[in-house]
């Protein structure tokens, strides 16, 4: 039995409340004031992406989209329009004639979400509705491959749009094909487990967050469904800035990754903790903050939970290419300074 809440306002508390003692990383915490909890902890969250959508069990993208849009809804006092690229997110939320979205929402083509959002932002400007803000969103396919030209144009013109990419590392609803965000060695329908080096090859793909930083736009960040506090802070910060902004959220896909539906957040966490998915933010072309690794793990801990990497462990011995994946992690850790001596709480 949990007793009824007696919330201690920080100034009333006998000692300065140390948030980390219990529930540091949880969604809410009954011991802290309402405004210190996440948007998701609130009964008043907008549930911009509501029940009844047709995403798979344990979908990381459905989760990431609700996290991000609910935070943006709060930050803009619900004055928000979303433009969606084609992809899982559009297909599972809005099969004609029904929709799970509880905000103005537009869908045009696979490749032009950034351009359509630019148009919506321009329309709001012309209509003198400065309070109405615009988000464009899509998967990694619609962002890093098909929509890339429109995205780069939006960055380059510094249009007043926040573009959110939900990165599940492949084209999932069309049958799990490789995208330019698919990691090396991963099995997809187009990078099968065949030949001397099965799965996706090394030396391909691109980092759109880095490319976004290179556009010198006001704000770029990566985030993960495994750290809600960090994700919401970044979305809210992004909504406080005008101009082109980009956030890329790592969203595990149980279907395409071949993982258990209950492991979605666990996998997102391991991706960060092994160093494969660095979480950082950058302003005007400079990296300003990184999320430190809290409990460092070898990359194997992350790979082993996914069937798309099962061939790396086939027959009980480890594929030597695991060492090359670990090297990518180590390079990220060195590049962004993800590990320091005192750790996150230090």
């Amino acid at each position: 039995m949990t007793p009824p809440v007696t919330t201690l306002a920080p100034e009333e508390a006998v000692q300065k409340l140390k948030y980390y003692q219990k529930g540091t990383f949880t969604v809410g915490n009954r011991l802290v004031a309402e405004e210190q909890r996440t948007v998701q902890a609130s009964q008043a969250r907008s549930n911009a992406l509501t029940c009844g959508h047709r995403a798979c069990q344990g979908c990381g993208e459905a989760l990431g989209a609700r996290y991000a849009i609910d935070a943006a809804m709060r930050a803009t006092n619900n004055n928000l329009i979303a433009v969606n690229a084609t992809g899982c997110l559009e297909v599972f939320t809005t099969p004609y004639p029904e929709s799970s979205w509880q905000l103005p929402w537009l869908h045009s083509l696979f490749g032009n979400a950034a351009a359509v959002a630019t148009g919506v932002a321009a329309a709001m400007r012309v209509k003198k509705r400065p309070e109405v803000r615009v988000i464009a969103q899509g998967g990694d396919g619609g962002t890093t491959d098909i929509g890339f030209q429109c995205l780069s144009g939006m960055f380059e013109r510094n249009d007043d749009v926040l573009y959110i990419c939900y990165d599940n590392e492949g084209y999932m609803n069309t049958g799990v094909q490789r995208s330019s965000a698919t990691p090396p060695t991963a099995r997809t329908a187009t990078t099968p487990v065949l030949g001397p080096e099965p799965g996706n090859v090394f030396g391909t793909g691109k980092s759109v967050p880095k490319i976004a930083v290179a556009h010198n736009i006001p704000y770029v960040a990566t985030a993960t469904v495994a750290d809600l506090h960090d994700l919401e802070r970044k979305v809210i910060k992004a909504m406080s800035i005008h101009g082109a902004r980009y956030i890329q959220i790592n969203v595990p896909c149980p279907l395409g990754w071949g993982s258990a539906s209950h492991d979605t957040i666990r996998l997102a966490r391991l991706a960060v903790e092994c160093g494969l998915y660095p979480i950082f933010e950058a302003e005007h072309g400079k990296v300003t903050q990184v999320r430190k690794i809290r409990r460092k793990v070898p990359v194997q801990d992350y790979l082993k939970l996914q069937r798309r990497f099962a061939h790396l462990f086939k027959g009980g011995h480890e594929d030597p290419r695991i060492a090359r994946l670990q090297a990518i992690c180590d390079a990220n850790i060195a590049e962004y300074g993800l590990v320091d001596v005192t750790g996150r709480d230090g």
Partner: protein, 541 residues
């Protein structure tokens, strides 16, 4: 309805899709038994009262605690806290300082004068409790709260039993004990001191009692035959510790030898140091790791200058000296004599070889079974005689204050049921919330707050309390280190992590519900629940 060009259907919401039909596993909120609660000999709901303490509601915490144990300030000093040994937080950093918080709550209750709620209407039944030690006090408390009339007959001049006549003041100040006993007295329990019960059957008949609870403790020191010269000074530990309560302190001399390896031996050695002995030497026939005494007590004694003579037995005591024989452990771990002897200076020798129960009050009661010097009781704490129950050190058990308190509570519940003509069946226990049921990612690093220890120089010369209490700030900190194993603490994780928005938050203090119309059974909520309060169960398909 007129539709625009190329539109044939009305717009609708996805809420019409009841995606719950996809589910093969269903999440369910459960309660699991926290390991601390499971380990507590007094049956406290530790996690329950810590939850109140965490929100700063100390009075509610104290009231929840005293539902099971009326002596928190005593417990917070003398309990060997098996709860902390069992605590899951140890896998993260170190166990929660439950004992410290318990003491803080007990002391705060005394300071603020909190009293127990008045008992309900009297049942008209009378219960005789023999012995005002921890077990008797606990039974009296619970029986009084169930509406029964309770009289305690105590052989000694004051309440507390071994808590007063065995445990030294530097571990348990007497004003603390007195305050907690007074609160039980305020419930209407009648205390008669210097009132030894000579015959239980006669005492029950004379007082018109409907039932009796025997808790006379174990106050007779065990003796061992050791050849001793005429002028040799050989005392027993029980007598030494008891005399510390009187006006005449025991005369132990400058060099004191204590024979035995239990907590009592350490109590005597540390008391001797405080009385001014230059040397206090514990002679024990085995090694430190085989000592029955608790390790922290050995540690504190050594810090205070108590010396240890391992693998030795006393062969002979003379005035001013003793002869010890060195022992060696055989392959079964038993000490065997070596034939090597050594002489030690000793002004006195104190035997701390364990205690026996004075069973004289049971003489002539048919049906009572005594085996190995202790009274045999059933699972309901009743002896072979209907209506006579027993607990504490006089029944087979581990002899600690906390076990005794637990016996008192258990016996009280069975006595109550027996008086009402029924039987008491405890609620079935939940599955234990073992460490593998937790997701410890969500708990931050927060090392344990150690209670300040009196500086050594000061504590060897005075009887001031060695271990000091926490203050309000660090007690709150310590309480908040609790992981709430197996029981929801409303962290909102399930509500947040559901990709299908299928968890309903009912509001503060009311928990959550699953919306099974939309729950697809992915299991993320169960996986990401920090405290293991959700389980996935297969759907009947």
């Amino acid at each position: 309805m007129e539709h625009p060009f190329a539109i044939t259907l009305d717009a609708g919401t996805s809420l019409i899709n009841h995606t719950g039909s996809w589910r093969t596993l269903r999440p369910e909120y459960v309660h699991r038994l926290p390991p601390c609660n499971h380990a507590c000999p007094a049956g406290e709901d530790i996690q329950g009262w810590l939850a109140y303490a965490e929100s700063g509601d100390y009075e509610a915490a104290w009231r929840a605690l005293t539902e099971n144990n009326p002596l928190p300030a005593v417990m917070g000093r003398v309990c060997y806290h098996p709860c902390e040994t069992a605590c899951n937080r140890a896998v993260l950093d170190s166990s929660v300082g439950i004992n410290s918080v318990e003491r803080f709550l007990g002391d705060l209750a005394i300071k603020n004068g909190w009293r127990f709620a008045a008992p309900p209407a009297a049942t008209g039944k009378k219960v005789l409790v023999v012995g005002a030690g921890p077990s008797g006090l606990s039974a009296a408390y619970h029986l009084a709260r169930l509406g029964h009339g309770v009289t305690i007959q105590e052989a000694g001049p004051a309440p507390g039993g071994m808590m007063r006549f065995g445990i030294p003041k530097y571990r348990l100040p007497r004003d603390v004990l007195d305050a907690e006993v007074r609160r039980i007295e305020e419930l209407g329990v009648v205390f008669n001191y210097n009132a030894k019960v000579a015959n239980i059957a006669e005492a029950m008949a004379a007082g018109g009692f409907d039932a009796a609870f025997l808790a006379v403790g174990a106050h007779i020191a065990k003796r061992a035959y050791i050849p001793a010269g005429e002028a040799a000074k050989v005392l027993d530990a029980v007598a030494v510790l008891r005399s510390m309560e009187g006006e005449d302190k025991p005369l132990l001399g400058r060099k004191v030898v204590i024979y035995g390896g239990g907590n009592t031996a350490l109590d005597v050695a540390r008391t001797a140091k405080r009385l001014g002995a230059e040397e206090a030497v514990i002679v024990y026939r085995r090694t430190r790791d085989r000592m029955p005494a608790h390790d922290f007590e050995v540690e504190e004694a050594i810090e205070e200058g108590v010396m240890m003579k391992w693998l030795s037995t006393i062969r002979n005591v003379e005035a001013g000296s003793i002869t010890v024989e060195k022992m060696a452990l055989d392959d079964k771990g038993f000490p065997q004599p070596t034939g090597e002897f050594e002489t030690l200076q000793a002004d006195s020798v104190v035997l701390a070889l364990g205690q026996d129960v004075d069973l004289s009050l049971l003489q002539g009661v048919p049906g009572l079974e005594v085996r190995d010097g202790v009274v045999q009781v059933g699972p309901n704490m009743m002896t072979g005689v209907a209506g006579i129950f027993a607990g504490g050190d006089m029944v087979p058990s581990e002899r600690t204050v906390t076990v005794a308190v637990g016996h008192g509570k258990k016996a009280a519940r069975h006595i109550d049921a027996w008086l009402r003509g029924g039987t008491y069946a405890p609620a079935p226990k939940h599955e234990i919330a073992a460490a593998d049921k937790l997701n410890t990612w969500y708990y931050g690093e927060a090392p344990k707050t150690l209670r300040p220890i009196l500086e050594t120089a000061r504590r060897t010369s005075t009887f001031e309390e060695v271990v000091q209490g926490l203050d309000e700030g660090n007690a709150l900190y310590e309480a908040r280190r609790c992981l709430s194993c197996g029981n929801c603490f409303e962290c909102d994780n399930c509500y947040g992590v559901c990709p299908d928005n299928a968890v309903i938050k009912l509001g503060p203090g009311m928990g959550f519900e699953f919306n099974l119309d939309y729950c697809k059974g992915c299991g993320i909520c169960a996986q990401e629940c920090p405290c293991g309060a959700i389980q996935m169960i297969p759907e009947a398909i």
